[in-house]
Symmetry: C2
Subunit: 410 residues, 2 copies
């Protein structure tokens, strides 16, 4: 079986060296990674197998990371990882959802086999797929080790992307552009929400003639009508009606790298309060993006945004954005740098963020966002969709023509 090489081997080796160096700084001898994105980052492993416990082990004493997963996923590891056969350690199926055994018992066994069970072991204490019980089993199986929290250690290494990673994110940007345009071209009064969602999914997955879309880590979020006051609702079994507001948040994804994007739309005539909100939000985003350049702080980006919306009497207490890139469900965010007050990450070239100006007010809301990377010349957007409140008119039945109200604040 020939592995699919998404990155050159030197890139994987550089990632590994960087992680080992951080481990050294933090006094960690062995790292047990359970976050699927971190596992992928260091090994290339890609499969929808994170519903069972699995891990990647990194140690200064090991030349390669070691992949440990379910037996039936061993072939998947051989097909997607860059390491040698020795570094693939599948566990028997009787560890799966058993009342007497846990896959982390097997992970402990592998660590003992490599004689890594006496030093300091780092685990990702707050990672999605590292359960309280998984931790207890590891502790029980490795009682001579000292455990420390290494949550986000690899995530922070992921913060600055390589050119190849940025290349995939730009491809994802092309896909999200197509998916958002599909949404705005399809949604009108009388259309079922699920039919619009289905068209959007198809655009996300079919991608472009050159590039296949991967599944994004979050499904399209697209609350409409009264549901726009809620941030994370999907489609329901109803037809759009004239007067509906629709918030759409979705991503393009290529080889697990994401470019998310949000736009809001109104079917028919938008209310004055929504038009007013959109103007302010767009002006705020323009101001925030202008701040982006190497050397500025993440909180500076938020401050520019806050200054604009405050001037118009609005407030937003949730953060303005977050680092984005490689990920798996349930989230495309990297959980490291945020665009918010108090976050003092220094911007560097090839960091990438999703700046999402989501305003969820009482009974209505609006979301407009951009994904971008930091360059020496400022923010470079991944998507290319007009930054405005979309007004989808349903008066002209022929061809679903769309009439757009220009609201750009710039």
């Amino acid at each position: 079986m020939t592995p699919v090489a998404l990155f050159d081997r030197p890139e994987y080796e550089l990632r590994l060296r960087t992680v080992k160096s951080r481990m050294g700084q933090q006094g960690i001898d062995t790292l047990i990674l359970t976050d699927p994105a971190n596992m992928n980052y260091l090994t290339g492993y890609d499969g929808w197998s994170f519903y069972v416990p699995q891990a990647v082990v990194v140690s200064e004493d090991l030349d390669e990371p070691v992949w440990i997963g379910r037996g039936q996923d061993g072939n998947g590891a051989r097909l997607t990882c860059w390491m040698s056969e020795n570094a693939i350690e599948p566990y028997p199926d009787y560890f799966v959802q058993s009342e007497v055994r846990h896959p982390m018992d097997y992970v402990a066994e592998v660590i003992r086999k490599y004689r890594l069970d006496r030093g300091v072991i780092g685990v990702e204490m707050d990672a999605y797929y590292f359960s309280a019980w998984a931790y207890q089993r590891l502790q029980a199986g490795l009682s001579d080790a000292r455990f420390v929290d290494a949550h986000l250690l690899v995530n922070w290494v992921r913060l600055i992307k390589s050119d190849q990673e940025i290349f995939y994110m730009k491809q994802a940007g092309e896909i999200v552009t197509s998916a958002m345009n599909t949404a705005m071209g399809y949604i009108r009064a009388g259309v079922r929400e699920a039919d619009a969602a289905g068209e959007i999914f198809r655009a996300q997955i079919q991608g472009t003639p050159e590039v296949s879309g991967d599944y994004p880590a979050i499904v399209p979020l697209m609350p409409s009508g009264v549901r726009t006051g809620a941030a994370h609702l999907t489609w329901v079994n109803r037809r759009y009606e004239r007067g509906d507001a629709v918030n759409i948040e979705l991503a393009g994804c290529v080889h697990r790298y994401h470019a998310p994007l949000s736009r809001s739309a109104v079917i028919g005539r938008p209310s004055d309060r929504l038009i007013d909100l959109a103007k302010v939000v767009i002006e705020g985003i323009d101001a925030a993006l202008l701040v982006v350049q190497p050397g500025r702080l993440t909180e500076d980006v938020d401050a520019a945004w806050q200054q604009v919306i405050r001037r118009y009497g609005y407030a937003k207490d949730s953060r303005l954005g977050y680092s984005v890139g490689l990920n798996y469900p349930p989230d495309w965010g990297e959980h490291t740098a945020s665009l918010r007050l108090g976050d003092k990450t220094i911007l560097e070239t090839n960091m990438a963020f999703h700046l999402i100006a989501g305003m969820w007010l009482d009974g209505y809301g609006l979301e407009i966002s951009e994904s971008f990377r930091v360059t020496p010349f400022g923010a470079e957007l991944f998507a290319n969709v007009e930054r405005k409140l979309f007004v989808l008119d349903d008066q002209d039945d022929v061809g679903g023509t769309e009439w757009r109200l220009s609201l750009s604040g710039s």
Copy 2:
């Protein structure tokens, strides 16, 4: 805001009473649920917000379950839960991905507010979204309580479905039938895998003219060619070729209730070894389904399967199936009863299973499955797709006509 009632209030009340009764039997005063499916089961809450910590609290001292989640998801809770406003407890955004605070600190605060912090507290120790760190924060915030493992307590209550739940699963069965037929009608030599995947997604989401599809908890798994030897791979950026085998595993989903289905196909002429394997697998599934009726054990179903495949010299060391129903990513399985040796769950009417005869051999593999519910008259299938190895001929370019080799073992 008017909640969408997917179930009558008496059904939610019955679920709550059943859970409280099990808590009583296990000496649990307060239950903190973090599994999104269990949260939904008791409250109706539905939103893609499980990427931040959230919980539902159940106690004999509380009339209603209490939903605790992120501030911006409070409106989503108000729109989807059956409880009163008092039972919605949103936390401020400064708890999100903070280095100094954790949402579980807020959960502990709510539990103290209700004076539930001195008894026995059950937590779901091995649930996906209950991290090791979340557990430590809860323990720190509720130091007078005694914690016990209540993992799967609610999952076991979910094992036997109500008629309304079965109704949604039958609708999901119609959708998976349509999605699988879409796949088999679209895949042929020269088609890009992602284009097929996009059509499948669209069929899953657009559902039927009457019923919208919800997003399934797992994306379509559809390894082809050499990748069919791996269980959990998705599509890649390639075109199908004559001679490819394709394994497709996907689900229809309605209101988070799943009907999964697998079929395998070959583009062109299947190899003799694959034809042989398919015959055996189909005969094994037929034998297993015949065993299903109230009073039989889950392991009896597996035994009937094993007997057939052993006679032909095959072996399968992973389980034959598992309980299925309501769920969220990353899994549609319920993690309770399995169809496997040693599992002695007694079958009852309205239990539902995904019986998946997946064989992953060296360099090739095959998957044929059925979802069914138990009835007094035997297994009732949710989907209606011919049980066979599909042979997709690409000779006839007009209309993508499909030529099927009948291999039914019955």
